[in-house]
Symmetry: C2
Subunit: 470 residues, 2 copies
């Protein structure tokens, strides 16, 4: 029996949400009271969420056969490759990076191969030419597996990378089919066409699953497995969280409570959502969350077609680091934000602070403690200081950072986001606002069919030189 199947392990590894510092009892009049979250809008959203859940694609976790396919593919890559490169952007990149950072060594690529046990790992989520050149300086394409991820196969950035890669492999006499794995829609789009023609190995993204909700699908799970992460434990963590999110009472459902609190704060003018993990391993989890929250909830229209122009702007921070960068603003600045900390009960290393410099009391008091105690004290102290200044904040606690707790955390945020979409009565699963920029790019690059857009752009105001300072 795997540890994640054992009830004791599951209980010990429950992630927790402490919202005391959101409440009037702790932060005074700017806090919430229990009844605020029991308002009809939150109850109705809970009912709607409950009714819709069965149709939400992210609630359908991958089946055993898919996991086995991924594990088999990953085992082969671990044996054969020196490097594993993801070409993808947005939802195809942020999840893989966040999970890798959470569950692998913080200097993974710098470890000797035998300590890593798997290939070096790169996620290329930009088209900066310097970055592509830099990648090619540190990998040997002949010993590298490339995972090209785009559900639609029409993502310009990823397809440009695929074109460059194809030519590079061919120029070196290498077989594209041997070096490239395509993760894409099973039927529709350009990448599946290419994959079939070239005979690439493929993994399929469920057609109704959006990029930002796809970490617990082949999109995220292949790279995790390649890096030696137990993907069944991750999925089990998500499934466990699902069982914990069955109540329609926001006070008994931590994802609904999370969504409701954020939305209630937004309604009161807190248009900024700070996500501040106290662990370097969780730093990129804030980036993953930032996409999920921003792109799902930043919407101009509600389901009825009314202009609502809603959305709370996620801000990524890192504890304790950003205490020395952002916390001055959080404590003294406007009442425009909610701060969510992520704390860890047990770090995977224990580092004592020795007794040194005992003649300097201003320093010596740290001796005999540990970095573990210091970071925990600073998390508590920062939440306390914010609460004392009347600034609402809350903390998600992970008993430790492992595949099971990360699976829970991902699913928790996904559900909180989908629920918040119900509160706002918007479609949390589309992103129509990015079309304008895409079309303008197509027009500039001469894509057939965008001639009218090009004309529109040519006719737009060109601006004045007086407004260009040089």
């Amino acid at each position: 029996m795997k540890r994640y199947e054992q009830p004791d392990f599951q209980q010990a590894m429950r992630i927790r949400l402490d919202v005391n510092h959101m409440m009037q009892e702790c932060v005074g009049e700017k806090g919430l009271c229990k009844a605020d979250l029991q308002a009809p809008c939150y109850q109705k959203a809970a009912e709607r969420a409950h009714a819709k859940r069965a149709q939400w694609a992210f609630c359908h976790l991958p089946e055993d056969a898919v996991l086995t396919q991924i594990e088999t593919m990953a085992a082969q890559i671990r044996r054969q490759c020196e490097a594993f490169v993801v070409f993808g952007i947005g939802g195809s990149a942020l999840g893989p990076m966040a999970v890798h950072q959470a569950l692998q060594h913080l200097h993974y690529n710098e470890l000797p191969a035998e300590k890593r046990g798997g290939p070096r790992f790169y996620v290329e989520d930009n088209v900066d030419p310097e970055r592509m050149a830099a990648l090619l300086d540190v990998i040997d394409p002949g010993k590298t597996c490339f995972n090209v991820i785009t559900k639609s196969g029409s993502t310009s950035e990823t397809m440009a990378q695929m074109m460059i890669l194809t030519r590079l492999l061919k120029d070196r006499g290498l077989d594209v089919a041997e070096h490239v794995i395509a993760t894409t829609d099973a039927e529709k789009g350009n990448l599946i066409q290419i994959a079939k023609r070239l005979g690439l190995r493929t993994l399929y993204v469920p057609s109704d699953l959006g990029g930002r909700f796809s970490e617990l699908s082949p999109v995220g799970l292949l790279s995790a497995a390649v890096c030696g992460i137990d993907i069944r434990e991750m999925v089990a963590g998500a499934a466990f969280m699902d069982t914990r999110l069955q109540s329609q009472d926001v006070w008994e459902n931590m994802a609904y409570l999370e969504g409701a609190m954020q939305m209630e704060c937004m309604r009161r003018g807190r248009n900024i959502a700070v996500m501040m993990p106290y662990a370097d391993s969780l730093k990129l989890m804030a980036d993953w969350y930032a996409q999920l929250w921003a792109e799902s909830l930043g919407k101009r229209y509600n389901w009825q077609g009314d202009v609502v122009a809603v959305g709370q702007t996620p801000v990524k921070a890192l504890g304790v680091t950003d205490q020395h960068s952002q916390v001055q603003l959080y404590v003294e600045g406007p009442d425009d934000k909610v701060v969510t900390f992520i704390g860890v009960d047990a770090y995977r290393a224990q580092v004592p602070i020795p007794l040194e410099y005992e003649q300097i009391p201003d320093v010596a008091f740290l001796g005999g403690h540990s970095l573990n105690e210091l970071i925990a004290a600073e998390l508590f102290a920062t939440g306390y200081a914010l609460a004392k200044a009347g600034k609402p904040n809350k903390t998600i606690f992970l008993p430790e950072v492992n595949a099971f707790t990360i699976g829970q955390l991902l699913y928790f945020f996904e559900m909180a986001t989908a629920y918040a979409g119900e509160v706002l009565d918007i479609n949390a699963f589309d992103q129509p606002g990015v079309e304008g920029g895409k079309q303008a790019t197509y027009a500039l690059l001469g894509k057939p069919g965008f001639e009218v857009k090009k004309q529109e752009m040519d006719a737009a105001p060109k601006g004045k030189d007086a407004y260009r300072l040089a």
Copy 2:
């Protein structure tokens, strides 16, 4: 004659600010008009800034003797060490990381030593025990130089690192004086005491220079020089920018214009400042800026002691990457932000997109272009799409990313921040709001003198279990 002394080079390398997309001509009624920025508050702030500049510490760039000292020290480290580690946090870390990322290879530490030409480079700006353990997995302390940076010598995080390091070196029979360089105040504080006692090599931070304004001082310049960056060119870039910022007319002074536009937007409800470079090399520049802007301008009191609780929240983004994460919100969400792009005219690599997959027009149109064209088109397209949606945005252009343009950029932002402080009539150079959290940490760790604080904390509301979901 060095290139940065040549007028032709200086002219060609002028960084530029294009604010057309901030103006009504381009974004419609939600834009600004020229006269808005000529309001008395902005003119008076310009006058005050002008009068105060001579006293602002960041305006005093390091003298030749200091640069020579840093260069000599760096040359020795480059010869002797395999790794160079900065122990510092906030202003002692963000500048060094941003400049390294901007001016060095994107996979610097993974390059073979002969390609790097200098030691591997690490900045340790957190007290996460997992991070300290991970660092020790990849460095050999006997072949490493540690630069401990804290002006006051009372930064708990850095001093804890120093204590751990001291013990580690002693336990291995290594000489602390040989392996540690202290960058600190010349006279005051704990670190200078320790440095004198142990005979450490030292560099001095000017006593009136705050951490977030200290990149162009020994704080930032030693690590830059150790990594092979021409620090004289950086400083020359800053000095050149200073000559460009002499006008008191905001329309002739790009730093004042930057500050005035941000403050005018803030006044109109845009409490979020997005900084979005279109270059991986500039990604961490957004982190450096985030500290500068947040900690300088997020203030509860103005100079008269009135409660103002001002501050614009910086948000870090990366183009094109975050088009697939944040731009949906920027385009469709509330009118609560200003987006500032950073563009690069000439990247340091040229990557063509070959003609491939010509049977698929949806992909093939990219062939024959280059990643350089693609990223430039996406920058333009995103600014255009935002403007078309009525969302103000502006772009800072760097002709290329080099030490001279980075020096300009750092100084430009510092002056824009100091000027914005004058607009708000606040002290942009202190950070009183972090004291509460520090004191609470001291109390928790039993630092002598914080017994009363501990009592206060013990007496504070403990919160309810009903507000802890588990």
